[in-house]
């Protein structure tokens, strides 16, 4: 039996092309390092850039002659290109982490990069307060690019539009098309993000100087916090996360940015086109505000009753802020990880777990099951109950509004439910594994919900000293959660098929 190498040829060619475009990003931290006269970091990033270019061109050369034409690519290959690109770029992007000496192992570096790309925001870097400006820039750049999508970045720079581009785009967990062609959609995603980058960074820069940061530090912190908030990432340049700034307004600007960032790019585009009613009608926005309100009220009442926070300003800055940070899957923490475990109690942690699992909007920078799916599932269940109550003679077509009106048919309901079930399964397996490692059920639930939903809040389990098998599981959970399972499953399936064919041949 002959192995069909054209499949892998195509995958290698397009993965190499995406990685080559991504390689250009290494020049930014190099520029930052040179600006600070930091030759050590400049060398780390130059070495990483060279490695990235060599691997990318190697893959392109290997795939060039064996690949099928772009139009001939199947959905399967599109999904595999997306998932394979993520793996390759994670391995490459981890190099400067390891070279910096702030990572205890390459596995820890991979963990941090996957956390950045998937906009999770947990980290294992050591001595964060003393890392170079270039490495800090790299961390936040990765989370910014990961939020919009590496494939989205690559497609924006593709010379030619091809039918396969849409298959790669879907493989990265995005499905909304803003304009008829996918290259145009990718470019719009970047335009929206860059406009917000300028506005958000300026606001944070000004406020940073008002709270006592010098102009240069304030500018870099403004860029970092914007990149992290917009991408619903959760990284911050210093160990204390947003607690470093001790300022209500600085936190609030971040809060507004991460809420806006958690909305669907389709919604942003509709608002740009003047369709303001979309904000009120969109099922995801409604779902987000309803669940945020219910969960916030629950957490506020509970933590007020326990006496932990009694003043309204404390309840807002410590409870509502963290809850919205969890719900939008951002992961900025205005309390210490240990406080969740010691002060938030059973209900407080449960509410946070639910918020983290629900997550933000589909086709946004956020993670989790997504508001759209939750909205569809609830509407579907409600519709079924109505059907039963009205009897079989009455026919009623259920609809939901998401950019445009859609009929809520069985296939849509099934698709939303399948992804939700996969998230719950991944969460359950993670909780069992973490609990077996000696952590309590509540703590395990919090931490696993955080990685599965790409949130980044921690209750204290994620540390460089945790068992390696847990690190590997959490890396996989972040990866599966961000790409929404299907493309990763297809990659695994294709790998198994390749191995099986290889064994049959020899």
């Amino acid at each position: 039996m002959k192995i069909d190498t054209s499949n892998w040829g195509s995958v290698c060619y397009y993965t190499g092309t995406s990685a080559l475009i991504f390689s250009a990003l290494f020049t930014l931290p190099i520029a930052v390092a040179l600006l600070y006269g930091d030759w050590s970091s400049a060398l780390d990033f130059t070495l990483s850039l060279s490695t990235s270019v060599i691997l990318s061109i190697g893959l392109i050369r290997y795939g060039e002659h064996k690949r099928k034409s772009a139009q001939g690519l199947s959905w399967r290959h599109g999904l595999v290109v997306a998932s394979f690109t993520w793996i390759l770029l994670t391995l490459i992007s981890a190099i400067p982490y390891s070279l910096s000496g702030h990572s205890l192992s390459y596995l820890d570096s991979i963990f941090d990069v996957m956390s950045g790309f998937t906009t999770t925001g947990v980290f294992m870097l050591q001595d964060l307060d003393h890392i170079s400006q270039a490495l800090n820039f790299w961390r936040h750049l990765l989370t910014f690019v990961g939020g919009q999508g590496m494939i989205v970045l690559a497609i924006s720079f593709f010379v030619k539009e091809s039918g396969s581009a849409y298959k790669f785009y879907v493989g990265e967990g995005k499905d909304v098309t803003l304009v008829p062609n996918v290259k145009g959609t990718a470019q719009w995603i970047w335009k929206i993000s860059l406009v917000y980058l300028i506005i958000g960074t300026s606001l944070l820069w000004i406020q940073g100087m008002r709270i006592g940061l010098n102009p240069v530090n304030s500018l870099f912190h403004g860029i970092y916090i914007f990149m992290s908030a917009w991408s619903t990432g959760g990284f911050a340049p210093n160990y204390q996360n947003v607690l470093f700034y001790h300022d209500f307004l600085f936190e609030t600007i971040g809060l507004v940015i991460f809420i806006i960032g958690s909305f669907n790019f389709g919604l942003h585009f509709a608002l740009i086109q003047g369709k303001y009613k979309e904000f009120r009608k969109n099922i995801e926005v409604v779902s987000f505000f309803v669940s945020s309100f219910i969960l916030s009220v629950l957490a506020v009442i509970y933590l007020n009753n326990t006496g932990m926070y009694t003043r309204s300003i404390s309840l807002f800055r410590r409870v509502v802020y963290n809850l919205l940070s969890a719900h939008t899957t951002t992961g900025f923490g205005s309390v210490y990880a240990q406080q969740f475990a010691s002060d938030w109690g059973g209900l407080g942690i449960t509410v946070m777990v639910v918020a983290m699992l629900i997550g933000g909007s589909a086709c946004s920078t956020a993670g989790g099951i997504k508001g759209l799916r939750i909205g569809i599932i609830f509407k579907g269940i409600f519709n079924d109950i109505q059907k039963l109550m009205r009897g079989e003679r009455t026919m009623r077509i259920a609809k939901y509004h998401h950019i445009q009106d859609h009929v809520l048919d069985d296939a849509t309901f099934r698709s939303a439910s399948s992804i939700a079930i996969m998230y719950i399964l991944l969460f359950t397996v993670g909780v069992i594994l973490t609990t077996l490692s000696g952590y309590s059920l509540l703590e395990s639930s919090f931490e696993v919900a955080s990685v599965t939903g790409n949130v980044g809040l921690s209750i204290g389990i994620i540390q460089a000293t945790m068992p390696s098998y847990l690190k590997i599981f959490y890396i996989l959970a972040m990866y599966l959660g961000r790409l929404e399972f299907i493309s990763v499953f297809v990659l695994i399936g294709m790998l198994f098929k390749g191995v099986k064919q290889w064994f049959q041949r020899y």
């Binding site: 030759w39 490695t51 060599i54 400006q133 006592g212 926070y309 003043r311 800055r317 210490y336």
Partner: protein, 162 residues
Amino acid sequence: MVSTILSLLLAFQSPIISINQLILESHDYDKKTVMIEAEVILEVLERGDHAWINVNDGTNAIGVYLPIEMTEEIKVFGDYNHRGDIVLISGVFSRNCDEHGGEIDIHATSLKIVERGYVVTHEIAMWKWIVTMFGVSISSLLLMSHRRRKTKAVKREIREFL
């Protein structure tokens, strides 16, 4: 001088506590005078006649609120190029500070420099220079060859089209 004597007296009364221990046992230390020894990070954040400094003792980091004149002694702040001044701080710890929106913080009553900070030099290993130069050479050659092939392919496409 007075603050130094006070700090020394306090040192006899209450031992230095790690920041992580303070946070883990925040219920026990709430509203009590505590003493920590930690490195000052990045810079002083001035707020009128008071200021915030962030300190890290290697176990965790915390914000310290203090009168601005107390920060005058601090000269070196911790970042990539510096090990910041190590300070001995005593003050009142709050797990839910009423004045600062429920934050965990310390309102300092005294601050003493224990160890002056210094500039950190980052030595670059020779192997890093050699490997980087080698990598840059190979990747540049590959990029040039890749570009040439691309240009040829585009020209061929144009020829075929015409």
